[in-house]
């Protein structure tokens, strides 16, 4: 028998480590450690900032924290219980019973402290309008303003962006005109938001004579979010393999039939993810609404239907991002917790939208069909 000794160190064990292997392993570990440190350098300051913000805002938001915290835990535990119940045949009833009991307990608890704790602060910071030159009350007026702004800008930009993306990716011929448009779209995504704001003043406020209004601001934000929606739509469409389209065309399906029955259903999740991410951007931007419609302070109805739709299309409005700027720099004697509270509400809104988008992606990956 030919005895081929692959290992100079140990003739008996062909799998023993060679010096080269040990050296390679050491370099690999070093690289891994460096990457870990880089990540930590990003994550630790971020967590620290978030913690600091949340802590300083706790005077006005402690109750909200509690409800959200208990709510998350109270939803997660039943979720894991239900998952366990799916796997375990014998103790299914026990797990399901526990899950239902916890859910019921949490909801009763929330209702109880909401009813009995009303005068103890509660959700006041979220539900009350600013009072006493913004040194008291809450952030309801700017919160609903931001909500309306985002909603309206999406109504404008989502259809235009998605249809433009479909056209550019599926129908447009590859000629110099399309290339210029694509180049413009890519570059527009990088234009600073203040420039979009100035464009909005020129185009919407003056040229289209909308005045400084919710409509003008929404249009400006829509123009700002449009390039990214177009780009993400194009990307989602390109991710559907070309061979699927070719197969449909070979069977005599028209381009539009192919897109409607095959391409769009398989890319709609990716498209929506892009749109949702733009919600976060629209909510956070100050510059585009600064000159086009946002207002320092506006008195709106405290209760009733009017408090939910306080601004018409022609009206100027309050927005969270601008409100944060105001209470942080323009008004005196604002409690510190109000400034940080506004920041936390804004970040919370953005994070919530982002987590919806992340959930969407996980769902999308789970049902990927090829």
């Amino acid at each position: 028998m030919a005895n081929v000794n692959l290992n100079p160190n140990d003739g008996n064990n062909p799998f023993a480590r060679t010096p080269q292997e040990i050296k390679r392993k050491r370099i690999e570990l070093g690289a891994q450690f460096t990457f870990l440190m880089m990540t930590m350098a990003l994550v630790i300051p971020m967590l620290w900032i978030m913690w600091d913000l949340a802590y300083r805002a706790s005077d006005v938001l402690s109750y909200t924290y509690m409800v959200i915290g208990v709510g998350c835990v109270g939803l997660l535990i039943p979720y894991f219980l239900i998952e366990a119940a799916k796997r375990n045949e014998h103790k299914r009833k026990l797990f399901m019973g526990l899950a239902i009991a916890i859910l019921a307990g949490i909801s009763i608890w929330i209702v109880c402290i909401t009813v009995f704790n009303m005068d103890n602060g509660g959700f006041d910071f979220l539900t009350l309008n600013p009072k006493k030159r913004m040194t008291a009350g809450g952030v309801w007026a700017p919160l609903i303003g931001t909500f309306l702004l985002v909603l309206l800008s999406l109504v404008i930009s989502a259809p235009i962006g998605i249809l433009a993306g479909v056209y550019l990716s599926e129908f447009a011929n590859d000629n110099w005109f399309t290339r210029i448009i694509n180049l413009a779209v890519v570059n527009l995504a990088g234009v600073p938001s203040i420039v979009h704001g100035l464009f909005g003043v020129g185009a919407f406020v003056y040229f289209m004579d909308m005045g400084r209004s919710l409509l003008a601001a929404s249009s400006t934000v829509a123009v700002m979010t449009l390039p990214v929606i177009i780009t993400s739509t194009k990307e989602a469409l390109t991710s559907v393999p070309q061979s699927f389209r070719a197969a449909c065309w070979n069977m005599g399906a028209t381009k539009w039939q192919t897109i409607r029955t095959l391409v769009l259903p398989n890319s709609i999740n990716g498209i929506l993810t892009g749109v949702i991410l733009q919600v976060a951007r629209a909510a956070g931007e100050t510059a585009p609404i600064l000159f086009t419609g946002a207002l320092y302070y506006k008195k709106i109805a405290d209760t009733g239907f009017d408090s939910f739709v306080p601004y018409g299309l022609e009206d100027r409005f309050m927005a969270l991002s601008y409100h944060l700027f105001t209470v942080a720099t323009q008004v005196q004697d604002v409690p510190e917790s109000f400034q940080f509270g506004t920041a936390v509400v804004l970040i919370g809104m953005v994070l919530m939208v982002n987590s919806i988008s992340i959930g969407f992606r996980i769902y999308l990956r789970a049902r990927k069909r090829w």
């Binding site: 061979s243 065309w249 069977m251 005599g252 095959l262």
Partner: protein, 284 residues
């Protein structure tokens, strides 16, 4: 009955859905000319690269026409020029005329291009299962053509899957995703799809590449049966497959048609030495 419908490429399955299943039996008889596809001085360029040198070739009705040749000989391009899918490659330029049923395909305008493509079944070498259920994969083309009667569709899907030798393996899981099938099954699904829109011409481009030899033999038997109803253009790298199946065979080399003629002649006493070398395996 459906003579006009099928010969003039205006066959619209929507108007005559139930009868469409049997269209071929009636349509193959009363055609005066027996040339189904003819290439007159056809050449194809991708940008400045010549994919096919000018050539003349005729494919008769109800024959299996084999096309053999090494890679990069222009075989796939030739198939794409028949059903006008070269339109989707912006740099491709076709000159000369490809005639199907005597009609120049480049002269077809508007919606009738889709009718032309429905007239021709295409199977390309890479298996493509659409991300739809197995049933919807096969029912896709008939539905797009406007056939919605569930009973007719069921019948058609079963018939196509049986012809592609896939029915026995998937009959209990027709609602399974087509992309989850194995490679060979997906390839047979592709064949079933190509048959689903009731074509008169079936173009097979190396259909057997992902399919096991036993199933390939079964499908070859089906092809010999289908020959009664349709014209089959068979591009293959397996020279013996062409010899087994084809009535006429063409040999392409380096984007040039070397020669074509009866299969026996091509395989025994071709006019060109290079053809003999290729079929004997002494190429190069």
């Amino acid at each position: 009955m459906n003579q006009n419908e099928t010969t003039q490429l205006t066959g619209d399955l929507a108007t005559d859905a139930p009868a469409a299943v049997k269209v071929h039996h009636e349509s193959s008889l009363p055609i005066s000319s027996d040339i189904h596809i003819s290439f007159d001085n056809v050449s194809v360029k991708y940008g400045s690269d010549v994919a096919l040198q000018p050539f003349d070739m005729q494919i008769k009705r109800n024959e299996i026409f084999g096309i053999i040749g090494p890679a990069n000989a222009g075989k796939t391009t030739l198939l794409k020029s028949i059903n006008r899918t070269l339109d989707f490659i912006p740099s491709a330029k076709v000159s000369g005329s490809v005639k199907v049923n005597g009609q120049d395909v480049s002269a077809i305008r508007g919606r009738r291009v889709h009718q032309l493509r429905r007239h021709i079944g295409m199977v390309f070498p890479l298996p493509v299962g659409l991300p739809l259920s197995v049933y919807e994969n096969v029912a896709y083309a008939p539905r797009r053509a406007g056939m919605h009667d569930r009973r007719v569709l069921d019948e058609l899907v079963e018939k196509c899957l049986r012809q592609a030798m896939l029915w026995d393996e998937v009959k209990d899981r027709l609602d399974m995703l087509g992309t989850k099938l194995s490679g060979g099954q997906q390839q047979r699904l592709t064949i079933a799809r190509a048959l689903s829109h009731q074509p008169e011409i079936l173009c097979l481009d190396e259909f057997s590449i992902a399919i096991d030899p036993v199933t390939t033999m079964k499908i070859e038997d089906v092809l010999l049966e289908l020959k009664q109803e349709l014209t089959i253009v068979l591009v293959t790298n397996l020279v013996q497959q062409a010899r087994r199946l084809a009535d006429n065979t063409a040999f392409f080399n380096k984007s040039e048609l070397i020669e074509f003629g009866p299969t026996e002649k091509i395989f025994s006493e071709p006019e060109q030495q290079i053809t003999l070398d290729y079929v004997m395996g002494d190429f190069g």
